[in-house]
Amino acid sequence: MFVNFFMTLREHGVPVSLREYLTLMEGMKQGLANHSLNDFYFLSRATLVKNESNLDKFDQVFGHCFKGLEAPEGEDLLTDIPEDWLKKLAEKFLTPEEMAEIDGMGDWDKLMETLKQRLEEQKERHQGGNKWIGTAGTSPFGAYGYNPEGIRIGQKEGRHGRAVKVWDKREFRNLDDSVELGTRNIKVALKRLRNFARQGAAEELDLEDTIRSTAKQGYLDIKMVPERHNAIKVLIFFDVGGSMDPYIKICEELFSAARSEFKNMEYFYFHNCLYESVWKDNGRRQQNRINTYDILHKYPQDYKVIFVGDATMSPYEVAYPGGSVEHWNEESGEMWMRRLLDVYQNAIWLNPSQEKYWPHTHSISMIRELMDDRMYSLTLGGIDEAMKELSRKK
């Protein structure tokens, strides 16, 4: 009977399975949610949602599916307007000329001011009417991209005082989105890439072998084995300077997490695209350069390679000899990328720029093609995916 609700949840990316649905039915049958819609909400949330980052999505779908089922309560709550929503609205309510004008002045505050005015006006016009303002519609600029349907925010409504229900408060809003990255979280994400092996000095008691050997010999014969540790080997290439500057913090976090997680890790810097040399010290990047060939020869092919960069540059920098902005490169960046990828089968690219903008930059598509689509966004989810890809045996 809630199939529609179930399907809508799946459509909106809440990973619910049949088993959970059946559990919910079982719970309903036992009368766990007989008292109110609220109880049903809590029960279905406990059964269907298994991760706090999905709670917000769940609340929205629930609100959408069961809208108007409950009588108004006379509670008056104003949900505040999230900033990104305002941004999206900017595209809807301001004419391109106005946008250009404000853009020209470079005054973000003023833009917000105008928007708020617009919203006020809009509220008045719609008095008594629609409670929700949807943000469907795509931008004329393509900057803020496609706005997923069904994202709505609460708006105080003048006279009717309709209730904002629990799920409409959307208290879990800031738990959604995997953008928040701390080193702790990155470390956890990187942990997926583990490959335990026993190497080095024998320091642990090997119980099995000791017993076997003792039984065989007739006297206590202690056997030792080396400790188990992570034997994964990683090369990381960081893009520095230029368009990477806004992402310095996140790259630092990734770097420190990777450093503590991988014992065998080597890192190098490059600018925009990989060419015949890289460096390890940004202060002396002109003097102490390392030949890329040396890297290819020095590190065996069981190393896993991670590129970190926004891959945002002119297409010439990838495709043509002499395309680099910093120096004259004899061979194209594409060539060097291919050379490296030929040696290291396990390679991925982490891109700190937002995934929705990727199709708009030609060089990103080029690099992505070079990487066989193994480009992931530098968010927790992206790192997770990337580590899964890297740990695949090739």
Binding site: L32, L43, K50, N51, F172, R194, I211
Partner: protein, 281 residues
């Protein structure tokens, strides 16, 4: 048999629904939330409210799933065999029951707390899938099957340090304890310190939420830290004026050591308070 909170534990409505659902359908309940919001305490309180025994299994990074079922003590059998002990002929003498075994075979179905499941290795939850789902397991050494007659209520807590596998999650109920709002927090404080002055609580709560709102804190103070802090304030008999006088002499909350556990956080708060004071001049 329903759980409705206890004298010492304020349960929100959604938490009660989740606990009761887990009780009714005999499924494990997975609890997540900020550290210090009462995840572990929940199991204690449920056990108290329902008058059942509580079995605690605290997970560490070295814990193996097998340890929860049973452990075969090969070393002492080996020793006994060298000493010629009679015990050595029966392998059952060397099998130590784990927490799950104890929970499954207990007379009155107890409550089993698996605390901080995310501390263990990433494979740990997968190794317990069948055991928690069907509530039975095999003992290879003796060939017997241990099966729960009364399924215990299993409460699992996680601090989100590792993702849990989907297959595991599908078998659980899930509840995220969100940070209590001011009213609920007031209730919680009342439950713990019934004879505290109302004024003190109000001032302290205001300060507490102010501190929590400071952007960029490494570790936000949580319920348990607030309770510790209040206790300290009471013991020290802190006059209300000190809590109230926001930026005169004292820069940061008195006895802040109970709230902030990180010296960078303390520095940041001091700096912010200093800037505030300069602005207000």
């Amino acid at each position: 048999m329903k759980f409705t909170g206890t004298e010492t534990y304020v349960a929100t409505e959604d938490l009660m629904v989740a606990v009761n659902a887990a009780l009714a359908l005999k499924r494990p309940l997975l609890i997540k939330g900020e550290p210090g919001t009462g995840k572990t305490v929940l199991a204690h309180e449920v056990a108290k409210a329902l008058n059942k025994d509580l079995l605690e299994w605290h997970i560490k990074s070295t814990t193996k799933a097998q340890q929860g079922l049973y452990e075969y003590d090969a070393v002492s059998r080996l020793r006994d065999s060298q000493l010629g002990d009679k015990k050595v002929h029966d392998i059952r003498n060397y099998i130590n029951k784990g927490k799950l075994w104890q929970a499954f075979t207990a007379e009155d179905s107890p409550i089993l707390l698996i605390d901080e499941i995310d501390k263990a290795d990433i494979e740990f939850p997968n190794d317990l899938l069948q055991e928690l789902d069907r509530m039975e397991f095999n003992v290879y050494e003796t060939g017997e099957t241990i099966k729960a007659h009364n399924r215990p209520l299993v409460i699992i807590t996680s601090n989100n340090e590792k993702d849990l596998p989907d297959a595991f999650l599908r078998r659980c109920f899930f509840h995220y304890i969100k940070f209590p709002d001011k009213d609920t927090m007031g209730d919680i404080v009342n439950v713990h310190y019934p004879d505290i002055q109302n004024m003190l609580v109000r001032e302290a709560l205001n300060l507490f939420y102010d501190v929590r709102d400071v952007p960029g804190l490494k570790k936000k103070p949580s319920t348990s830290e607030l309770l510790d802090w209040l206790k300290l304030l009471m013991v020290e008999d802190m006059p209300l004026e000190i809590l109230r006088s926001k930026d005169k002499n004292k820069l940061i909350p008195p006895l802040h050591g109970a709230l902030l556990k990180n010296e960078q956080d303390v520095h940041m708060l001091e700096r912010l308070a200093f800037m505030n004071r300069r602005e207000s001049r």
